[in-house]
Every structure is written in structure tokens, then in C-alpha cells.
């Protein structure tokens, strides 16, 4: 922890970063995002196995961008999202200094997209064992059973948009959900409104989701909505052989035509 705090302090003191985004202890000791802009702020930074949330969503926020160069304490999810945001040209290559903290507390500076790419390549799969089990369970269901499952889960949705707001890839300036001239998707959190919202979001994350699970963790009513976006992502992976969050140079599979694309989905 001291190594990380000292590193953050040095970066701020030497002007290599104007803000360091990391984690601090929150209510009841849980880990929450933290923003260090002064030496005193760095004392709040913590790092341990509970620092699981994806912090990359803050990188595209105008309030943060205005502050200058950003360094970010990055777990695997944050690093993958950083690469994907770079690939989608939301962040300039090498605009962000990622700080990867090892189990022994040592800090590695990942200053370039290439360094992040190499680091991520050595990391284990994004999905937890429990999520993988749920994904397999859903895959083993019939189409009707899956419909019943999602109908039951989505009826709890209150359309608070915590999933969207927590997702680093949901950076659209104006989300389709917020368009009201014309209004494409029903606003109320009734069955149709909820179904359309989550289907549209999952489709928009197909080929872009880094499988961090942040949307599912953010949901106040416990809908495992990340299983839907992860499914969409893995479907693209299977069909087009590329994975979001693996490289800073990635063409959006659903927005790119290649002569050798499989066309088996056209029936």
C-alpha cells in the first residue's frame, strides 16, 4: 500500500499526473473509487483483493479530462476497458498512465497501450467461476426457459440506469434511451420498456463488453444483467474471433465488413 501511495505522490509532485484515480475505504470498509489530486489525498488510497470495480468509466468524463493527465490504479477490468476505450478512440493512445499493482504491493507503470496490451495478455479470463457457471446454466436452457428467466429478472428493473452509468463502454454523449425527439424506446420501467432497454444495451455492447461485471454489481435490485452483455460479447468472439479489451487496435466487429466474414446468421 505504501509503495502505491508513494508512487501516486511522486507522480503528482513531479507533474506526471494531475489526478490519480484509485480506491479508498468506504462505508463499512467496502472499496470505492477515490480521486487523489494532492499529496494528502494519496493517504486515502488502498489496494487489496476487494478492489474489483472497474474505474475506467471515469476516464472519459469531462470533469476528469479537464484536470489534465490521469493516472489510474488499474485492475484487470480497468486495463481491458482502457484498451477498448483507446480502440474506440475515446482516449488518445498513451493518454492515461495505468498503475498495475501486484500481489506483493509492487507497482508497475504501464505508460503505453502496448505495455497495457502485453500486461493484459498474461491475465486470466475476465469472468469469475460463478459467472461462468451461470452462463453455462443459461446456455443449457431452452429458448423458452431463458425467456422465463429474463422476464422474471427484468421485471424488477426500476430503470435507474445504474448499469449504464457504471459501464465504461456506455460513454455515449446522448444514449438512445434518452432520445425523445423521436423517442425510440419506451421510458417507463414496465415490461416492454425494460426488455427493450436491456436488449438494446446488450446489442450495443456486443463486441465491446470487457466482461467486468460492473453493470451487474451496480444493479440495486440484483439483476445479473452482465450475463446478457457477456453473452453478446462471447457470441461476437465466437463468430468473428476477436475479443473486446484485448488490444488498443481493434475494429468493431459489427461495424466492419470483411470478405471472409461468416454469413451463417443470414437464413
Amino acid at each position: 500500500m505504501e509503495v502505491l501511495r508513494n508512487k501516486a505522490q511522486d507522480l503528482l509532485a513531479q507533474g506526471q499526473a494531475q489526478i490519480v484515480i484509485g480506491y479508498e475505504a468506504g462505508t463499512g470498509g467496502i472499496r470505492r473509487p477515490s480521486f487523489a489530486r494532492t499529496a494528502a489525498d494519496t493517504a486515502r488510497l488502498v489496494w487489496d483483493a476487494d478492489c474489483i470495480s472497474n474505474l475506467a468509466g471515469y476516464l472519459t468524463r469531462p470533469e476528469i479530462k479537464r484536470m489534465g493527465k490521469t493516472a489510474i490504479v488499474a485492475n484487470a477490468s480497468t486495463l481491458r476497458a482502457l484498451l477498448q476505450l483507446t480502440a474506440e478512440r475515446q482516449l488518445a493512445e498513451d493518454a492515461v498512465l495505468a498503475l498495475a499493482v501486484a500481489e506483493d504491493g509492487t507497482v508497475t507503470e504501464l505508460a503505453t497501450a502496448q505495455a497495457v496490451t502485453d500486461h493484459v495478455a498474461a491475465l486470466p479470463d475476465a469472468l469469475s467461476a460463478a459467472d461462468r457457471e451461470q452462463m453455462n446454466l443459461l446456455a443449457s436452457m431452452s429458448r423458452e426457459e431463458r425467456w422465463v428467466y429474463w422476464e422474471k429478472e427484468l421485471q424488477r428493473c426500476i430503470k435507474c440506469y445504474a448499469c449504464r452509468s457504471s459501464c465504461p463502454m456506455c460513454y455515449c454523449g446522448t444514449c438512445t434511451m434518452d432520445c425523445n425527439k423521436p423517442q425510440w424506446v419506451p421510458v417507463p420501467s414496465h415490461a416492454l420498456g425494460n426488455l427493450e432497454y436491456h436488449t438494446v444495451r446488450a446489442m450495443h455492447l456486443a463486441g465491446r463488453c470487457v466482461e467486468c461485471g460492473e453493470c451487474g454489481r451496480a444493479c440495486p435490485v440484483g439483476i445479473p444483467i452482465h450475463l446478457l452483455t457477456c453473452f453478446a460479447e462471447e457470441s461476437v468472439h465466437q463468430q468473428f474471433g476477436q475479443k473486446a479489451g484485448a488490444s488498443a487496435k481493434l475494429d468493431y466487429a459489427l461495424g466492419t465488413f470483411r470478405p471472409d466474414d461468416k454469413e451463417s446468421f443470414i437464413r
Binding site: T27, I30, C160, A162, R164, D178, V187
Partner: protein, 336 residues
């Protein structure tokens, strides 16, 4: 005048049966997959055990997330307009925490402010609140800082406090509470020398709400709000789980032949909140929306109605994806 009695666990079960026989629906906290929802129950055994709070709030019982206000059909030369009538049945809300129960007072101030809301009032009239005192609290709780308490009777028609011997102390607080007692008076016993205070959770106040309200007008341009809101991701979870947040949005769902007008929960956390038709938004940054949340609850509302629009339940803190702890932020504002 409050009547203080006690009831055994067995008698409570019989009371549930009597409530059912009287045609009342009982809604209580029920647990599913670690979540506590307000669900229909028939016996006390179905009520969640040792839960701290509902995940959402009981405001749903009087202010649902989607309410149809009217519907219409257009025909050549005329429009057929139908007012919606709320589908109401006599309901007992059982086992609400005192904070949650007191939230109905805030909602009442809003829904009966300049006109009487038909839907809200129809439900409240048919509703009886059986509160349940808190014997535990967590780091998000701060009811004692906003005028409430773990055993507060405000908003309850009848308040239960668990006693060490498995009985409940029963405070009968209103005429509606007396009606419940009158359904089965034999189930209640006299309570002698029970020390209610000793049974309650201990929760020290963290800040002085009136001092905060007095201070806020001078902090409007403070950097504090930008600093506090840096972490906020701009969703509506806090407002939607809040027992007192009453902002709503009117949505029209229509095609060329028919339509309906719906009232839906809204939240100041969302970027479309207060977006004008011109495209201008007076609260275009998250810092301004966060400030609005604090000021509405602790400055504007108390100025108008004399009380904070917050019961200190801490639901917003627990629901927040990034732990925007309201107690902590208000305490910080008091010290600024």
C-alpha cells in the same frame, strides 16, 4: 393517547389470520436471494427475519414506479378520454422500519401540496402501517440526525418493538391502529414496565440537521459539491430507492389511434432531469445535479414544510454503485 400493550408470537400469527379474514392484504418484507422486497404475506413466518431494510422502499405501495393517469382513443371527430382509477384494496404494511414509515409524511407534503393527488390519497386511505422498531443499525443509517429514531412512532399506526422473551411491545398510535386491535382484542395483553428504549438500536446523531439547513444557502457556490460528486456516476438508484423522493416524469405512450399517460419515477441524478425543451439544462453538470439533491432535501423542502425530506434510512448509500454515502457527505457539509 397511545395505548401500550404486548403480543406473543403465536398471537401475532392469529392476528395475521384476522387481518386476512377482514379482507386486508398484508404486505411485508420478504427475502429472496439476499434481497428484501415488499411482498404479499399471510403469516409472520413469511416475513423476512432479522432484515435491516427493504432494498427498495415502501413508497412503491402508494407511489408506484409506473402509474397510468389516463388513457384515450381518437376517432373521427372526437376523442374518448378515460381517467384511470387506482386499483386499491385495504392493505396492511407490516414490519416497516420507523424511518420508512415516517417517509410517508414527506410524500404527503408533496402529493397534497397544492392539489390533492387522487392516486396517492386513495392508497393512503386504505393503508395501515405496522412499524417495527430497529434493534440494529449499520454504517449507512442516520435517522437520529434527521429527527427520527430506531423506535420512532412517526408514520406508524401501530408500532411493534421486539422484546427479549419473544413477545412484541405494541404501541397503538392512531384510529387505524385501534381498528386493527379491535379485530382481535383478546390477542393483546397488558404491558407492564417494559423499557422500550433499552431494546432499541443505539445510534448517535452525526450532524445537526437544522444547522445544516441554516448553512446551505451560503454554500451554494462552494467547490464542495463538485468535489463530492466526482465519484457519482449519474444514475437514479439513490432517488428510486428513497422513501421520500417524489420527483416524477410524465410519459405519453401513444400511436395515432390510442394512448395513455403514465407517471414514472424520475431522479435528479439523471442528466435529462430538468432538461428544457429548448435543449438548455440549468443543471448540466453532475455537480449541479448532486447539489440539487442535497438542497432539495435539506434546504428547499425544510424551508417550505419545516422538516428535511430525508428520513436517514441510508438506502441511497446502500444502493449506490460507488458508495456516495449521504451521512458522510452531509457531515462534511456541516463542517465546511
Amino acid at each position: 393517547m397511545t395505548t401500550i400493550l404486548k403480543i406473543s408470537a403465536e398471537s401475532l400469527e392469529a392476528l395475521f389470520a384476522a387481518l386476512g379474514d377482514s379482507g386486508r392484504r398484508i404486505l411485508g418484507p420478504t427475502e429472496t436471494d439476499g434481497r428484501v422486497d415488499l411482498g404479499e404475506v399471510q403469516t409472520p413466518a413469511q416475513v423476512a427475519d432479522a432484515h435491516l431494510q427493504l432494498t427498495l422502499s415502501a413508497k412503491e405501495a402508494v407511489f408506484p414506479r409506473v402509474e397510468r393517469l389516463l388513457s384515450y382513443k381518437t376517432m373521427p371527430g372526437k376523442v374518448e378520454l378515460n381517467d384511470a382509477e387506482p386499483d386499491i384494496q385495504p392493505t396492511v404494511l407490516f414490519g416497516l422500519r420507523p424511518c420508512e414509515a415516517s417517509g410517508f409524511g414527506s410524500l404527503d407534503s408533496v402529493f397534497n401540496w397544492d392539489s390533492r393527488d387522487k392516486f396517492f390519497n386513495a392508497r393512503v386511505e386504505q393503508m395501515t402501517v405496522v412499524g417495527l422498531s430497529c434493534t440494529q443499525a449499520d454504517d449507512a443509517c442516520f435517522c437520529t440526525s434527521v429527527g427520527g429514531g430506531p423506535g420512532s412512532t412517526k408514520g406508524s399506526d401501530l408500532l411493534l418493538t421486539p422484546l427479549a422473551d419473544g413477545h412484541y411491545l405494541v404501541e397503538i398510535l392512531t384510529a387505524k391502529g385501534e381498528e386493527i386491535q379491535a379485530l382481535a382484542p383478546h390477542l393483546f395483553q397488558p404491558a407492564v414496565n417494559e423499557d422500550k428504549e433499552a431494546l432499541l438500536a443505539k445510534l448517535e446523531p452525526h450532524f445537526d440537521r437544522e444547522a445544516l439547513t441554516a448553512k446551505l444557502p451560503g454554500l451554494f457556490t462552494s467547490e464542495l459539491w463538485a468535489e463530492q460528486s466526482l465519484r457519482c456516476v449519474g444514475c437514479g438508484a439513490c432517488a428510486f430507492v428513497c422513501p421520500t423522493c417524489a420527483c416524477f416524469d410524465i410519459q405519453e405512450e401513444a400511436d395515432t389511434k390510442e394512448g395513455q399517460r403514465l407517471r414514472c419515477w424520475d431522479s435528479c441524478g439523471l442528466r435529462q432531469f430538468t432538461l428544457h425543451a429548448s435543449g438548455h439544462n440549468p443543471r448540466s453538470a453532475q455537480a449541479e445535479r448532486w447539489r440539487q439533491r442535497i438542497y432539495h432535501k435539506f434546504s428547499y423542502f425544510p424551508q417550505r414544510f419545516g422538516e428535511a425530506m430525508c428520513v436517514g434510512c441510508g438506502k441511497c448509500t446502500r444502493a449506490c454503485p460507488v458508495d456516495m454515502n449521504l451521512k458522510e457527505h452531509l457531515t462534511q457539509a456541516c463542517g465546511t
